[in-house]
């Protein structure tokens, strides 16, 4: 078996092309910035259509050059991916093989985009996202990782934890297995790590860990922040003072010190994560119960049904997640993951609390709140059904940003080897495992690092797109 080259049989054609395109993009972008800086930007032109603002000719030229070279670059990258999938097995190269492993993801992405763009008029804010290039790029990146996490079992060529193949320790990308078994994948696409595991498979499986914990933890932090923040902002008084002081206290605590103190095996043996989870995981149930009760208290039948359902399902999950006492034995989290989850929720909630409180203070001066008060609505109805829905725009944007921030926090925990078990394929832990020999074997830490960056970048771009589109409404 030969070691793979990066680009396989496509290399001789596409490699020079992509170099030219990248160079052209760099030159035109630089020229564009310089021209924009040193020339008058727009001037008014008078023609038979009336006065129009027109940018000067040089600027239009550099902008066009930039657009064209960017389009060429994108086309060549697409060529690598499509060509890689279509090439016969021996000639794919590393890029092509990776692209073909990701085939289910490409199909899912294509379907999502085609369907969403076709029906974008009817999809509200989500549909507006597809009018915005930045938002679309961000959404694409995020969905790429979401689909990767969903289809991870089909994508990985090797088991990320158990497949330790002798002779593959710290090998370069594209190294063939010494003697592959029948039906086994023949190469380590992105090389082997210090324990001779496949870097590519670990990266793909890691997305599953990260994309389960980060959004769930953010959601819980939002539940806690909203349940406490809306009443604090709406009612004020002692309740607000005490909660604000606690929130500021947690915020003054350096995140990293808190992690080092909380996420240790000693703390887990003391059962601290269970107690914290017992408090934090109650909030979603409380929130939902108050939500149903305030809306439907006049229709007792529906109210009782909803509250009963919430308490039953919520209580079942609560027993399983927080106390590990699920009567059916279905729901449970290992101690290491629980403490990571709980501390991330704990660190995020005060910030959400402050944002929600600020938004509530602002919205409670509006006329529709006064109207609801005059109608004689209860305070909880006003808080949860008048104020909260009107705060959804900023909260949605912050939710996207916060998932990104939570991903970074998870990576930080992994980077210091806290919480998650050392063989866990999540990205932070993988970076930690490879950073010692970074200067000699860069791929084991580099691959998960790029993965984290692309996911967080996608979330930030998505949040930016959402913000722009929701401001436009």
């Amino acid at each position: 078996m030969e070691p793979m080259t990066w680009t396989g049989a496509l290399g001789p054609y596409l490699n020079p092309a992509i170099q030219i395109a990248a160079l052209a993009l760099a030159v035109s972008a630089l020229a564009n910035i310089l021209v924009a800086l040193f020339s008058a930007n727009e001037r008014v032109q008078y023609s038979e259509h009336g006065a129009v603002l027109q940018s000067n000719a040089t600027l239009r030229f550099t902008r066009m050059a930039m657009g064209l070279s960017l389009a060429a670059l994108v086309a060549i990258v697409l060529g690598y991916i499509l060509g890689g999938i279509l090439m016969p097995a021996g000639e794919k190269g590393i890029v092509g093989s990776i692209a073909s492993r990701f085939t289910p993801v490409w199909i899912a992405l294509a379907v999502t985009f085609v369907v969403s763009i076709a029906f974008k008029k009817r999809l509200g804010l989500y549909g507006h996202l597809f009018d915005n290039v930045i938002g679309m790029v961000g959404f694409g990146l995020v969905m790429f990782w979401v689909f990767t996490a969903i289809f991870a079992d089909a994508i990985v060529p090797f088991d990320p934890v158990q497949d330790v193949i002798s002779g593959m320790k710290n090998k370069a990308p594209g190294t063939p297995l010494p003697n592959p078994a029948e039906g086994q994948f023949t190469h380590y696409l992105l090389g082997g790590d210090a324990l001779a595991r496949d870097v590519f498979s670990r990266m793909v499986m890691g997305s599953r860990v990260v994309l389960t914990i980060a959004p769930a933890a953010t959601l819980f932090a939002f539940m806690v922040g909203i349940t406490l923040g809306v009443p604090a902002g709406y009612m004020g008084g002692k309740f607000d003072t005490v909660l604000s002081f606690i929130a500021n206290l947690v915020l003054a605590f350096p995140v990293i010190l808190l992690f080092f103190l909380l996420v240790t095996p000693e703390i887990i043996t003391m059962g601290v994560p269970t107690y914290m989870a017992a408090v934090l995981f109650l909030f979603p149930i409380i929130f939902l119960v108050i939500l149903w009760n305030s809306r439907f208290h006049t229709r007792t039948g529906l109210r009782n049904l909803l509250v009963a359902l919430t308490v039953l399902i919520g209580g079942w999950l609560y027993l399983g997640l927080a106390w590990d006492l699920d009567p059916f034995g279905l729901v449970s989290i290992p101690g290491g993951v629980l403490i990571v989850f709980v501390s991330v929720v704990f660190v995020n909630s005060p910030t959400v609390f402050r944002i929600v409180r600020g938004l509530t203070l602002d919205i409670s001066t509006r006329d529709y709140v006064a109207a609801a008060q005059t109608r004689g609505e209860g305070p909880w109805y006003i808080m949860l059904w008048e104020i909260l829905p009107n705060a959804r725009g900023p909260l949605l944007v912050d939710f996207c940003l916060r998932i990104g921030y939570t991903t970074i926090l998870l990576g930080t925990l992994g980077f210091f080897g806290l919480g998650l078990p050392p063989e866990s394929p999540d990205w932070g832990t993988s970076i930690n495992g490879g950073r010692g020999l970074l200067q000699f074997f860069p791929f084991p830490p580099l691959v998960p690092a790029v993965a984290i960056m692309s996911l967080v970048l996608g979330l930030n771009l998505l949040a930016d797109g959402l913000r722009e589109e929701s401001l436009r409404d």
Partner: protein
């Protein structure tokens, strides 16, 4: 104004007390004390030996009393043997050659200026913290010296013409920089500039030698790593503030008068646009602590962050308490400065 500052100082003191108590509580949980005993007296000692070690060294008193000892409001326990020679206790740590109980001070807490004794480094905590803070101060200074001017320039350039091509490219760069945490950019920087694979080898991948003297080779990568992550946020805030100022009436008046665009930006808009970023820059200080810890771990630089990591791993109680005091003081002082500075810079705000 004086009352405002006094009240803030009071809140600060209360916060610091609460925080150090939480740290004290967490580091003094029974399993943590057991870990401490095992790292100090040998990892194979039995449970009874652990208990007797803890009793001998003054870790057995109730937790509130020992917190009082640390604060210096409660006389510290002194454990003596049968002849009355002191053998252990808070005030004895780090002192040697003491034969009678009279030579040991009764109070040795923070109020007396005694920050305690580091069980990991076996020297006084004040000494370690001082040395480490000086090193981290150098790192922070260079990080700020690169980050702030660059971020302000990017923000002003992007915000002066909202929606232009320049704005879009610079804004995308800022977003990219805020989505690159230190452990990612550090890894990428080392691979590109210091690894044998790329072969550039312009800089050192380790900042260990920076202890003896900062050079361009050993300090560029750590500084760039810290600066990159914080830069995007400041740049975005500056951009927002600049874009807002550029829509103000007096800017429009200046444009209509025919003032040159560069003059408008530099003379009229810039000063007002820099008020809001000042707050953001001050509030970046506490954020940088996490970055400093990561960068010091990645580039093997023995600074404040390294002391935090080592202290936490060895359950070095006094060291961790001192670290948290420093951290909370930094957080709260920067908040105070940003509030007061904002009031000074912006004549429309009055502190009440």
């Amino acid at each position: 104004m004086a009352f405002f500052i006094l009240r803030r100082l009071g809140v600060m003191l209360l916060t610091a007390l609460c925080m150090t108590f939480v740290v004290f509580l967490l580091t003094n949980l029974p399993p943590n004390l057991e870990k401490l005993a095992k790292t100090q007296a040998g990892s194979r000692i039995t449970d009874t030996e652990v208990t007797s070690w803890l009793e001998r060294n003054g870790y057995a008193a109730p937790i509130l009393l020992r917190y009082g000892e640390w604060l210096g409001v409660w006389p510290a326990d002194l454990v003596t043997d049968a002849e009355g020679t002191p053998i252990g206790g808070r005030c004895l740590r780090g002192r040697s050659g003491i034969t009678s109980a009279d030579e040991v001070p009764r109070y040795c807490g923070v109020i007396q200026g005694d920050w305690g004794y580091s069980t990991k480094y076996r020297v006084g905590v004040a000494e370690i913290i001082g040395e480490r803070l000086a090193r981290t101060g150098i790192l922070m200074f260079w990080a700020f010296a690169t980050m702030v001017p660059l971020a302000l320039i990017i923000g002003v350039l992007a915000g002066m013409r909202e929606g232009s091509g320049l704005d879009r490219s610079l804004s995308t760069f800022s977003i990219a920089s805020t989505s690159t945490p230190e452990y990612v950019s550090g890894v990428i920087f080392v691979v590109v500039f210091a690894s044998s694979m790329v072969g550039l080898k312009w800089f050192n991948g380790s900042a260990k030698s920076a202890v003896d003297g900062v050079t361009f080779e050993n300090f560029t990568l750590p500084v760039a790593t810290i600066a990159l992550y914080g830069m995007g946020y400041i740049a975005r805030m500056t951009r927002a503030s600049m874009a807002e100022v550029m829509t103000a009436q007096y800017i429009r008046t200046a444009r209509l008068k025919g003032v040159k665009f560069s003059t408008i930006v530099l003379r009229h808009a810039l000063r007002n646009a820099l008020i809001a970023p000042f707050t953001v820059i001050m509030l970046q200080f506490p954020w940088l602590l996490t970055g400093v810890v990561i960068v010091e771990a990645l580039f093997v630089y023995p600074g404040f962050g390294n002391a935090l990591v080592e202290g936490a791993q060895n359950n070095d109680i006094d060291l961790l308490l001192a670290v948290s005091v420093v951290a909370v003081v930094v957080v709260l002082v920067t908040q105070l400065i940003s509030d007061i500075g904002y009031a000074f810079l912006n004549p429309r705000i009055r502190v009440s």
